[in-house]
């Protein structure tokens, strides 16, 4: 005959404590793994812009990054950027070069697309539209959030790749073509995946979409 043993109050308390601990640990793990948890996602429709025709919305994993373009500073570069956005060329393109708290770079349309990512060549791809001239003569302060077109070591080699700086970079003045500045959502960029070992990221984060606001 099996004798029923009743759990004591102390044992019941320990059991409840263990269950609570497990729930806490599980939820804590979920919270920790969700890098976007404390990142505010800005809805551009709820914001008023003075020049809506120059507003760009990048949608990434943690939300929207809203950029204001400056065609008066770099007309050709801004036009190139807008044209590529209008043709949805930047969709599913990797943030292939990320330096923590310094910059994120994306826009390799040839080797950075999600479906044909080429780690050996990423960062060297072209848009097929040819290069454009550097526009570096206008005064522009490369403050945190500034957006510029990337180039090779030589001037006048800008194409489709762009970078956004996550810190002030006065040395970029006169070096790179500025195209705009992040007005909302810089935190989204700070959450982009980076590597401690290299500027180039394995299994990088991707741009979901880039669209003109208007």
């Amino acid at each position: 005959m099996i004798k029923k043993i009743k759990a004591s109050l102390f044992e019941k308390l320990i059991f409840i404590f263990l269950i609570l601990l497990a729930i806490f640990a599980l939820s804590f793990t979920i919270v920790i793994n969700n890098k976007c948890l404390f990142v505010k996602n800005f809805d551009p429709r709820k914001i008023e812009f003075t020049e809506p025709e120059n507003v760009v919305v990048i949608n990434a994993e943690c939300g929207n990054v809203i950029i204001e373009l400056y065609p008066e500073v770099s007309p050709k570069a801004v036009m190139r950027f807008k044209n590529l956005i209008k043709s949805n060329s930047y969709d599913d393109v990797a943030f292939h070069r990320v330096i923590k708290d310094k910059l994120v770079q994306a826009g390799d349309l040839e080797f950075g697309k999600k479906d044909k990512l080429d780690y050996a060549k990423i960062g060297t791809g072209k848009s097929g539209l040819g290069t454009i001239k550097s526009e570096i003569d206008a005064e522009f302060y490369f403050k945190k959030g500034s957006v510029g077109l990337a180039r090779s070591l030589k001037y006048n080699t800008e194409d489709s790749q762009f970078f956004i700086i996550l810190d002030d970079e006065p040395l970029f003045e006169g070096e790179y073509t500025p195209i705009g500045r992040v007005v909302y959502g810089i935190k989204v960029l700070e959450k982009i995946k980076y590597s401690h070992r290299s500027e180039y990221v394995l299994r990088p984060d991707f741009i979901n979409t880039i669209r003109m606001y208007q």
Partner: protein, 240 residues
């Protein structure tokens, strides 16, 4: 192809992140900003620690002390301030790197110009007597590297006497004297006789430092005219 990709990938993983804007811009490690805001937009850096450059790491330079950096910065900037922002942009010079005991393959040198990286490295320990003039000498190499066709060496060689021959290279010769000749005889210094580009750089630096007085030296007069004419072609507002 796959093996090649794996190799590249492993290389990417091994290379540490150098989150240093100066390094990213001019590919010289261990530098810090000395001054960014200058009248002609030149940016000055100093070596915080020794650095090595080149594929074979044959270019070496060490750091100096604050006092020396401060003193030499005053001299260097005073000399380089005579070049306008517009001119510097045309010749592609933007960054000045200050360090000590600059050597290439163990041979001391006053400066290393890098036209592509827009950089001029200057050895702060270089002989005080010639230090200021040498700044302009090295700057000329930046100009020359950017306008090779303009400063045609064959054209230049014709100015010299027929039996004169330059050395094979600037360090292949023992003619290293930088004292200005009393009797020039076609050359400002002994070092001018090494190779045409050094000869041109010596003429340029003497012109800048006002060490040239019109003489009966016909060869030197032709060389001076050549340098002046070519500089005018680069920037017609340029004044010696």
């Amino acid at each position: 192809m796959r093996i090649f990709k794996v190799f590249l990938l492993s290389f990417i993983l091994i290379v540490p992140v150098k989150a240093n804007t100066i390094y990213n811009l001019i590919k010289i490690p261990n530098l810090e900003i000395y001054r960014l805001k200058t009248s002609n937009d030149l940016k000055y850096f100093y070596a915080e620690r020794p650095f090595k450059l080149g594929v074979q790491k044959n270019i070496n330079c060490t750091n100096s002390n604050k006092k020396n950096y401060d003193e030499k910065y005053e001299i260097i900037s005073k000399n380089l301030n005579r070049y306008s922002k517009n001119f510097l942009k045309k010749i592609n010079l933007k960054y000045i790197v200050m360090c000590e005991d600059l050597t290439i393959s163990g041979i001391n040198t006053a400066g290393i110009p890098d036209h592509v990286m827009k950089t001029l490295i200057i050895d702060l320990k270089f002989n005080k007597k010639y230090f200021e003039r040498v700044i302009h000498h090295e700057l000329f190499h930046v100009i020359n590297d950017g306008f090779k066709d303009l400063f045609n060496e064959n054209e230049w060689k014709k100015f010299n006497e027929k039996n004169f021959k330059y050395s094979e290279c600037s360090t292949c010769s023992k003619k290293l004297g930088l004292d200005t000749y009393q009797n020039t005889n076609g050359f400002f210094t002994e070092y001018s006789k090494t190779i045409p580009s050094e000869d041109m750089a010596e003429v340029f630096s003497h012109l800048i430092k006002n060490r040239y007085q019109d003489t009966n030296d016909n060869i030197l007069n032709q060389k001076v005219k050549f340098i002046k004419d070519k500089l005018k072609k680069i920037d017609n507002t340029f004044k010696f």
